[in-house]
């Protein structure tokens, strides 16, 4: 914890601002929550490495003043795994879009979860490919409109939390950009958790998803997050179990972390020679 007042200008590269995201895009709110989380944890900027793939959300790594790698589509977690194995002291944070994480990078996602390597994956779920023009993603869900689905999609969607859980992630949480403070707390918990952490954040794409599906502008979409989600264990969820659940789904500290397990193997192989 730090007692200094928060000023986001300490953590960004202001020369890249104003950012490229559309007016009302939720990714900026995720960026704000992330910077607040880093500030409240009192982390040094040099302790953090952020790797990202391709997409609107992946632009985050260019805006933050940490070590950053802007890599290839879907492979951000692989690059982060490499960085983490060579520099285990760094905190690895990987911001990903829904398509980047679960379509192009779906395999990397489940295997990073299975290994339980100490990386924090922030899945910014806006349910569409925004940067390339509004194609439907594996999280769009059936019955939604997109540029590539003018008569609505027939594909079912993934539940990121369930997928991460069954793949073996040891910290899984979900929030929305409307609940920006909760978002910050969950990112903080994800960063401090030793092991693979997945924080899914529902964020609005008013330009493509909102417009195509008549969900209104950014403000109406954010109001939607308020009404359509409920915290795990709340009365609201009890009354209406169909709502999207928010909060922590899994927190498991019993599984060995990958880098530590790897260190043990090195020691065994060297048998005290090093």
């Amino acid at each position: 914890m730090t007692t200094q007042a928060f000023n986001f200008k300490d953590y960004i590269r202001p020369r890249f601002f104003p950012h490229i995201w559309c007016p009302g895009c939720g990714h900026g709110i995720v960026l704000g929550s992330l910077l607040r989380a880093v500030h409240e944890l009192g982390l040094d900027k040099n302790e953090i490495v952020m790797t990202s793939g391709i997409g609107c959300s992946s632009r985050i790594s260019g805006y933050v003043d940490f070590h950053s790698l802007h890599t290839i589509h879907g492979r951000a977690l692989s690059f982060a795994t490499g960085v983490k194995l060579s520099q285990p002291n760094l905190k690895a944070i990987v911001p990903m879009g829904d398509g980047d994480a679960l379509a192009i990078g779906g395999n990397h996602f489940i295997h990073a979860a299975r290994r339980n390597i100490d990386i924090t994956a922030i899945v910014m779920n806006n349910r569409i490919y925004g940067m390339t023009g509004g194609q439907f993603s594996p999280l769009s869900g059936s019955g939604k409109k997109a540029t590539t689905a003018p008569y609505t999609t027939i594909d079912r969607d993934f539940d990121v939390a369930e997928l991460a859980k069954s793949a073996g992630a040891t910290f899984v949480a979900r929030s929305t950009v409307y609940h920006a403070n909760e978002c910050k707390d969950l990112i903080k918990k994800g960063i401090t958790h030793k092991g693979f952490s997945v924080v899914e954040i529902l964020t609005q794409c008013p330009t493509y998803y909102g417009r195509k599906n008549k969900e209104g502008d950014a403000i109406q979409m954010m109001e939607g997050y308020k009404t359509n989600t409920a915290k795990i264990g709340s009365k609201k969820l009890e009354k209406n179990p169909d709502l999207i659940q928010r909060g922590i789904f899994v927190k498991n500290t019993d599984v060995p972390e990958y880098c530590e397990a790897y260190d043990k193997i090195i020691k065994t192989a060297m048998k005290g020679k090093a």
């Binding site: 007692t3 950012h19 995201w21």
Partner: protein, 76 residues
């Protein structure tokens, strides 16, 4: 606003894209659009410094600065 408190709204008009999120979620209706469609504090005296606008601004364009008049350096 609390007694003896002043709240300054630093709004970066270059960064603001005029999405209106801050205006909609302000509980005291402090903010509104200016003539260029950017956010502006038109009733700063009503501000309670809840910082919901700063928290939810997607463009990181708002900073709320609280000043306690006459009691400098009191907070730790």
């Amino acid at each position: 606003m609390g007694k003896g408190k002043t709240v300054k709204h630093l709004i970066d008009k270059e960064w603001c894209k005029g999405c209106g999120i801050c205006i909609h979620f302000c509980p005291k209706n402090v903010l509104d659009f200016d003539q260029y469609g950017k956010a502006e504090a038109i009733r700063p005296e009503d501000c309670i410094a809840c910082k919901l606008c700063e928290l939810r601004c997607p463009d990181l364009a708002i900073q709320i600065i609280e000043d306690q008049e006459g009691e400098n350096e009191k907070q730790e």
